[in-house]
C-alpha cells in the first residue's frame, strides 16, 4: 500500500486540508514541513482515524474531541467531521509464466458528527471504501476487513508513528514483558505468524476428528481406549494451553504492575523517602540530644572553672607566696612543727640538758637551769594553740601556692570543646530543620505501602510464572504420552479393515501439522533473524559516525524472546533506553520499524512525525538517508530545525513537499498576517528551501522580547 493523498474537514486544527504524497519509486520521500502546533500530530491522528476509526485515537477516542476547539456556534451545533485517504495497492499476477504488476487505487472516507458542547458527543463514525477507476468510484463491501488485510491494526505503530512513540519498543518505563509483547506483536503480525497459528489449530481440530472416527471403526477395545485417551489428551492439552496463555497473560499483567509500582517508588524516592526522612529526623533528634547533653556537661565544666582551686591559687599566687614564706620562716626557726615542749620535758625528767649540763633538782646551778627550762615550757604551752593551727596550715597549704598556668590550659580546653560542640550542635540543628522542611514538602506518598504493594504484585507475578512452568511441564508430559499412544494407535489402526483410510487421514493431518510447525519455526527463527540482522545493519549505519556511541555500541539484535538488545564491547548487554543517547534510541527503533517492514515484503508507508528530534549532524543525515533507502514510501513531518542540515538529501529524495502554517502564530512567530484568525492549518506549496508570505517565520533575532512574552 502507498498513500496517494488525504483530505480532512473539521478534524481539530484541520478545518480543510488536502495533502498529496509522493508515490514516485525514485523519490519516495514526502516532506511536510511544519513548526510546532501546526498540525503534524493531528494529521497523524486523522490518517489513522480514517483507516482504523476511534480505536486509533488517543485513549481509544474516549473523551477525545475531534471538532475544532474554536468552532463558532453560528456554523452549526453539530460539526461534520470527515477524513478521506486515497491509496494504491500493487498486486502481482502470474500470466503465462510472467509476473505482472497491477496497481489499483482506492478511496476510504470516514465521517462522523460531533456535538459542540462540553461533552463533545460523537456519532459512531461511518466508513466507506471505494475502488477507483477511470469510470468512477465503486463501493466495496466490508471495508474494515479490507483495511485490516492490507494494513493490520497491530502494525499501526509500525506504519504510523512519531519519534517518541517509536521508542515504545525499547522504553525503560514499561515492563520487559510489555516491550517484548509489542515487538512480538509487530513481528507476528507482519510476518504472518498469526495466520500459521490459526492453521495449526485448525489441523489439530482435524486430527481430533480423525481420532473420533477411529473410535468407531471396530470392536478393538484397545484401539477405542487409546482413541479415547488421545481425545482426552487433546481436551486436556486444550485446557492446559488456555491456562498457560492465561498464566502468561497474568504474569505480564503483574509484571507490568511491578514495573509501574517501581516507577512510583522511584518517583517518590526522587522527591524523598518519607519513611527514611522520618528515621533521619529521629536520628538527627537523637544526635542533637546527645550533643545537648555534652554541651551541658561542658558548660558545667566551664562553670566549675570559677570555683576550682586553680583559679584561686593562680589569682592569689603573690599573696599566698608571701604568706607561705612566713610559714617557711617559722619552719626554719624550728617553730614548725611544735616539738619543743616534749623535748624540754624529757630533758627535765632525765635531769640532764641537751648541752650536757646536769639538771638535778636541789642543786643551785641546776635549779636555775631547770627554772629557765620550765619557763620555756610554759611559754610554749601558751603559743601551742596558734602553733598547732600554723603547723596544720603549713602542711595543709603546702601544695597551694603555684605559679602554673593550669587554669589557662583548662580554660583553653573548655573553649575548644564548647566551640566544637556548638558547631556540631548548629550543624545538627540545621540538618534537623532541613529534614523537617523536606518532610513537610513531601507529598503523602506511602513508600512503605508501595513497597508492600510491589511485594504482593511480585508474589502474584512469580506465582503465575511458577504456574506457567508447571503447566508447560504437564503439557510436555501430555505430548510425550500422546506420541507414545500415537505409535500404538497407528499400529492398531493398520490391523483394522477400515483403519487404512483413517490412518491415511491421520497421516495427512500430521504431515500438514509438521509443515505448519516447520514454517512457524522457520519464520520465528529465520525471518526473525533476518529482521534482526537488517535492523542491526540499518542501526549501525545510522549511528556509524557518532564517535560517542560508536565507542560503546557493537551490535543490536532481536532475541528469540523478542527482546531488542544492544551489545557493547566484550558483548556486554546495554540497556537501550538508558545506555544509548537520544539519537541512537531513535535510530534503533526506526531501524527496527524499517527492517520489519522490509523483511515482511509488505509494501507499506512509514508515516513518521518528527523522527529527527534529538539528532544532529552526521547521525541526523545518516538516519534520514537510511530511512529513505529502506522504506517503500516515507512520509515525514519535519520541523524547520529537523530539516536544517538535511536540505540536500531532501532535494534528492523528496517527491512531494509542502508547508503547513498555523495562522494563530501571527504575530509572535509569523512575519505576515495570514488573514485568518481561526485556529486552522493552512497549507502552501513552499518547500524546505523557500518561504512565502503565508509561511514566512520570524527568526530568533526578529522576535522582540514583548512578542516572546
Amino acid at each position: 500500500m502507498k498513500l496517494l493523498c488525504a483530505e480532512f474537514q473539521n478534524f481539530r486544527l484541520l478545518r480543510d486540508l488536502e495533502l498529496r504524497f509522493s508515490v514516485d519509486p525514485h523519490k519516495k520521500l514526502t516532506v511536510i514541513r511544519a513548526a510546532n502546533e501546526s498540525g503534524k500530530t493531528t494529521i497523524l491522528h486523522a490518517l489513522q482515524w480514517a483507516l482504523y476509526g476511534d480505536a486509533a485515537l488517543p485513549g481509544k477516542g474516549d473523551g477525545f474531541r475531534l471538532h475544532p476547539i474554536d468552532w463558532s456556534a453560528p456554523d452549526g451545533k453539530r460539526v461534520p467531521i470527515t477524513a478521506m485517504v486515497e491509496f494504491e495497492l500493487t498486486t502481482y499476477r502470474q500470466i503465462g509464466g510472467e509476473l505482472r504488476e497491477a496497481r489499483r487505487r482506492y478511496r476510504i472516507v470516514r465521517a462522523a458528527f460531533e456535538e459542540v458542547d462540553a461533552t463533545a458527543r460523537r456519532t459512531a463514525s461511518t466508513m466507506r471504501l471505494f475502488a477507483l477507476n477511470d469510470s468512477g468510484a465503486s463501493p466495496i463491501e466490508s471495508p474494515e476487513a479490507f483495511v485490516n488485510d492490507e494494513l493490520p491494526p497491530e502494525l499501526r505503530e509500525v506504519f504510523f508513528t512519531d519519534g517518541d512513540r517509536a521508542l515504545s519498543f525499547i522504553e525503560a518505563d514499561v515492563a520487559q514483558s510489555t516491550k517484548r509483547e509489542r515487538v512480538q506483536r509487530a513481528i507476528r503480525s507482519l510476518l504472518g505468524l498469526g495466520v500459521i497459528e490459526q492453521a495449526m489449530k485448525h489441523v489439530q481440530k482435524a486430527a481430533a476428528d480423525v481420532n473420533r472416527k477411529a473410535k468407531q471403526v471396530g470392536a478393538n477395545a484397545e484401539l477405542r481406549n487409546i482413541a479415547s485417551r488421545l481425545e482426552e489428551i487433546d481436551k486436556e492439552s486444550g485446557k492446559f494451553e488456555a491456562a498457560l496463555a492465561d498464566a502468561k497473560q497474568q504474569f505480564a499483567a503483574f509484571d507490568e504492575k511491578v514495573e509501574e509500582t517501581d516507577r512510583k517508588i522511584s518517583a517518590a524516592l526522587q522527591k524523598g523517602d518519607k519513611e527514611k526522612l522520618r528515621k533521619d529526623l529521629e536520628h538527627a533528634k537523637r544526635e542533637i540530644k546527645q550533643l545537648d547533653d555534652q554541651l551541658a556537661a561542658a558548660n558545667k565544666e566551664h562553670s566549675a572553672l570559677f570555683r576550682n582551686r586553680e583559679v584561686a591559687t593562680e589569682l592569689l599566687a603573690p599573696v599566698l607566696r608571701r604568706a607561705y614564706d612566713k610559714l617557711e620562716e617559722l619552719h626554719d626557726q624550728g617553730k614548725i612543727p611544735n616539738t619543743t615542749i616534749p623535748v624540754l620535758q624529757n630533758r627535765l625528767t632525765a635531769e640532764i640538758c641537751i648541752c650536757g649540763e646536769p639538771l638535778v633538782p636541789g642543786e643551785p646551778d641546776c635549779d636555775e637551769r631547770r627554772a629557765h627550762i620550765q619557763k620555756l615550757i610554759d611559754d610554749s604551752l601558751r603559743a601551742d594553740e596558734i602553733q598547732e593551727i600554723i603547723t596544720d596550715l603549713y602542711y595543709g597549704a603546702k601544695p597551694l601556692p603555684t605559679d602554673g598556668n593550669s587554669w589557662l590550659d583548662e580554660y583553653k580546653k573548655i573553649v575548644e570543646r564548647r566551640d566544637g560542640l556548638k558547631a556540631l550542635r548548629d550543624d545538627g540543628g540545621r540538618k534537623f530543620r532541613a529534614l523537617e522542611i523536606e518532610l513537610d514538602a513531601l507529598p503523602d506518598t506511602d513508600v512503605q505501602g508501595l513497597r508492600e504493594a510491589r511485594r504482593q504484585y511480585k508474589e502474584q507475578r512469580d506465582r503465575h510464572l511458577s504456574k506457567s512452568s508447571s503447566i508447560e511441564t504437564q503439557l510436555l508430559s501430555l505430548r510425550r504420552e500422546r506420541e507414545g499412544l500415537n505409535v500404538e494407535f497407528e499400529r492398531l489402526l493398520r490391523e483394522q479393515k477400515k483403519g487404512a483410510r483413517i490412518l491415511a487421514e491421520l497421516e495427512v493431518t500430521q504431515d500438514v501439522s509438521r509443515v505448519l510447525q516447520s514454517a512457524y519455526d522457520r519464520i520465528t527463527k529465520e525471518e526473525l533473524r533476518k529482521v534482526s540482522d537488517l535492523m542491526n545493519r540499518i542501526f549501525l549505519e545510522m549511528i556509524g559516525a557518532d564517535p560517542e556511541q560508536g565507542a560503546i555500541i557493537r551490535r543490536a539484535e532481536i532475541s528469540a524472546e523478542f527482546d531488542i538488545k544492544v551489545h557493547g564491547p566484550n558483548d556486554r548487554t546495554l540497556n537501550p533506553d538508558r545506555d544509548l543517547n537520544g539519537a541512537s534510541r531513535r535510530a534503533l527503533t526506526l531501524a527496527f520499524i524499517l527492517a520489519l517492514t522490509k523483511v515482511s515484503e509488505v509494501e507499506a508507508p512509514n508515516v513518521i512525525d518528527t523522527p529527527l528530534g534529538m539528532t544532529s549532524g552526521y547521525v541526523k543525515r545518516s538516519l534520514l538517508r537510511t530511512a529513505i533507502r529502506e522504506s517503500a514510501q516515507l512520509i515525514l513531518f519535519l520541523t524547520h530545525d529537523e530539516i536544517a542540515g538535511c536540505e540536500e538529501i531532501i532535494d534528492d529524495a523528496a517527491g512531494a513537499i509542502c508547508t503547513l502554517t498555523n495562522p494563530t502564530h501571527y504575530p509572535k512567530m509569523l512575519l505576515n498576517d495570514p488573514g485568518s484568525a481561526e485556529r486552522k492549518v493552512l497549507r502552501c506549496s513552499c518547500t524546505h528551501r523557500n518561504d512565502c508570505p503565508q509561511c514566512q517565520r520570524r527568526t530568533d533575532s526578529d522576535i522582540r522580547p514583548e512578542m516572546a512574552s
Binding site: 551541658a296 558548660n299 558545667k300 566551664h302 562553670s303 566549675a304 572553672l305 570559677f306 570555683r307 582551686r309 583559679v311 584561686a312 591559687t313 593562680e314 589569682l315 592569689l316 599566687a317 603573690p318 599573696v319 599566698l320 607566696r321 608571701r322 604568706a323 607561705y324 612566713k326 610559714l327 617559722l330 612543727p337 594553740e385 596558734i386 598547732e388 593551727i389 600554723i390 603547723t391 596544720d392 596550715l393 602542711y395 595543709g396 597549704a397 597551694l400 598556668n405 587554669w407 589557662l408 580554660y411 573553649v415
Partner: protein, 152 residues
C-alpha cells in the same frame, strides 16, 4: 598534729553588702538561674570567694564591711567541704597582715577576707558585664587577661 580539716570559720556567717546581693544571686546558679552562660557561678559562695581572690590579686585594700548593710549568703560551715579554701583564706589573712598569729582569730580573718570580697565584688560584676558575650565568656576573658598579666 591538729585535724587537717579543722574549719575555723565553721560558726561564722558569710555576708555581702545588700547592694551586691542581687548581683551575687543573679550570677549564681543557686539563685534559681539554670542558664550557666548567664549565671556562671555554681553557688553564691563561689562568687564571693572569687571576689576575694580578685581583690587580693589586684592588691585592693579590704573594705570595712561593718560599714555596710549586709545580707548573709551562707554560713562558714560551707568551707568544711573545701578545706583548701580554709587554708587559702588563712594564708590570705597572713599575707595581707603579715601576722601569723591572726590564724587564731577566725572572726578577724573573716572580717578581713569579707572586706576583700566587698572590694572585689564590684570588680567581678564589672568583669561579668564587660564584653559583648554572655557573662560566662566575659568573666572568662577577664580572668584570662588577669592571669596573663602576671604571666607576662
Amino acid at each position: 598534729m591538729a585535724d587537717r580539716y579543722f574549719n575555723p570559720f565553721q560558726a561564722i556567717d558569710i555576708h555581702v553588702p545588700v547592694e551586691f546581693h542581687d548581683s551575687v544571686s543573679r550570677y549564681s546558679q543557686t539563685g534559681g538561674n539554670a542558664v550557666i552562660d548567664q549565671s556562671p557561678f555554681p553557688r553564691m559562695v563561689d562568687f564571693w570567694f572569687l571576689a576575694v581572690c580578685v581583690a587580693a590579686r589586684l592588691d585592693l585594700d579590704p573594705e570595712d564591711i561593718s560599714r555596710y548593710a549586709t545580707k548573709k549568703i551562707i554560713d562558714g560551715a560551707i568551707f568544711g567541704s573545701d578545706p583548701w579554701r580554709v587554708h587559702t583564706l588563712m594564708l590570705i589573712a597572713i599575707g595581707k597582715t603579715g601576722d601569723v598569729e591572726i590564724v587564731s582569730e577566725p572572726r578577724k580573718m573573716m572580717a578581713l577576707v569579707s572586706g576583700l570580697a566587698v572590694a572585689g565584688l564590684p570588680k567581678v560584676i564589672e568583669m561579668l558585664k564587660e564584653g559583648d558575650a554572655e557573662p560566662i565568656w566575659n568573666l572568662s576573658d577577664a580572668i584570662d587577661s588577669l592571669l596573663r598579666k602576671r604571666a607576662a
